[in-house]
Amino acid sequence: MSAVEITSTLDCTGLVCPLPVIKLSKAIKAAAPGAVIELLATDPGAVADLEAFERRTGHRVLARSESNGIFRFVVQRAK
C-alpha cells in the first residue's frame, strides 16, 4: 500500500451498528477535505457497511484489511 498520511484514528472496536458508521460520519464532518481517517472496528457488519457508505457518500475507502478479528479501514474524506 502506498504511503497515505493518516490524519486521525477512530477506534470503534467493541461497538456495534450503527455506532461505527455514525462516529465515522462525525469524524469526516470534523475533518478537512482530503483528510484520511483510519477506522478500527470489530463489528463484522462494518465490512459491507463501509462499502455501502463509500457508494452512498462518495468518501473513499482507500484500504481495508483484517487481523485478529479487527477490521481496519482507511477512509478519505471527499470534497
Partner: protein, 166 residues
C-alpha cells in the same frame, strides 16, 4: 451523488417497547450519517419514544414472545414457559435482561439514540391523532417533537426514497 438532492428516509415508528424502539432510531441515525434527510413519524405506542418521561421506562415483555432468549445460554432449549411470563416482575426482569445485553454491546440507550437523532437533524413528527386519543400534551414530549398529522407525514414521505413502517 454530489449534485443530486440528498436521499430521504421516511419511517413510521408505531411500537413502544424497548426492543422495537431501536430499529427506527438506528435506521434514522445511520441515514443521517450518510448525509440523507431522515424523518420519523411516531404514532400510537411509538409516541412513547418522544415522551419525556415514558421514553426512559420502555419495557419488553416475555409474554407471547417466543423469540425471547433463554435465561441460561448453556441450555438454549430451556425457555421460560409463557405462562410464567404473566407473573409479577417478569416484564421488569426481561427489561433488565435486555438492557443488560444492550449495555454489554455498548449500545446507546433509547434516550441517547433519540439525542443522536436530534443532533443529526432527524425530523421527529409526533402523531397528532395519538396525542388526542391518548391525551398527551405537547409539553410532555421532547421539545424537538413536531406535532403533525398524517397529511404532513405523507407529504414528507412523498419525497422519500426509502419508506418503512416499523
Amino acid at each position: 451523488m454530489t449534485n443530486e438532492r440528498p436521499k430521504r428516509l421516511a419511517l413510521v415508528a408505531s411500537k413502544g417497547t424497548l426492543d422495537q424502539a431501536y430499529p427506527p432510531l438506528i435506521l434514522a441515525t445511520t441515514a443521517a450519517a450518510m448525509g440523507w434527510e431522515a424523518g420519523i413519524f411516531f404514532t400510537f405506542y411509538g409516541l412513547n419514544l418522544l415522551h419525556r418521561k415514558r421514553r426512559r421506562h420502555l419495557q419488553v415483555s416475555p409474554i407471547g414472545n417466543p423469540a425471547m432468549p433463554p435465561p441460561l445460554h448453556a441450555l438454549p432449549m430451556v425457555k421460560v414457559p409463557n405462562l410464567l411470563g404473566t407473573l409479577p416482575g417478569m416484564t421488569a426482569m426481561a427489561t433488565t435482561m435486555m438492557k443488560g445485553w444492550m449495555s454489554k454491546a455498548k449500545m446507546p440507550s433509547v434516550e441517547e439514540m433519540l439525542d443522536m437523532c436530534v443532533e443529526a437533524d432527524v425530523r421527529l413528527f409526533a402523531c397528532a391523532t395519538t396525542m388526542g386519543v391518548m391525551g398527551i400534551r405537547q409539553e410532555e414530549l421532547i421539545p424537538q417533537a413536531q406535532c403533525a398529522g398524517a397529511t404532513t407525514f405523507l407529504d414528507y414521505a412523498a419525497g422519500a426514497d426509502v419508506s418503512l413502517f416499523v
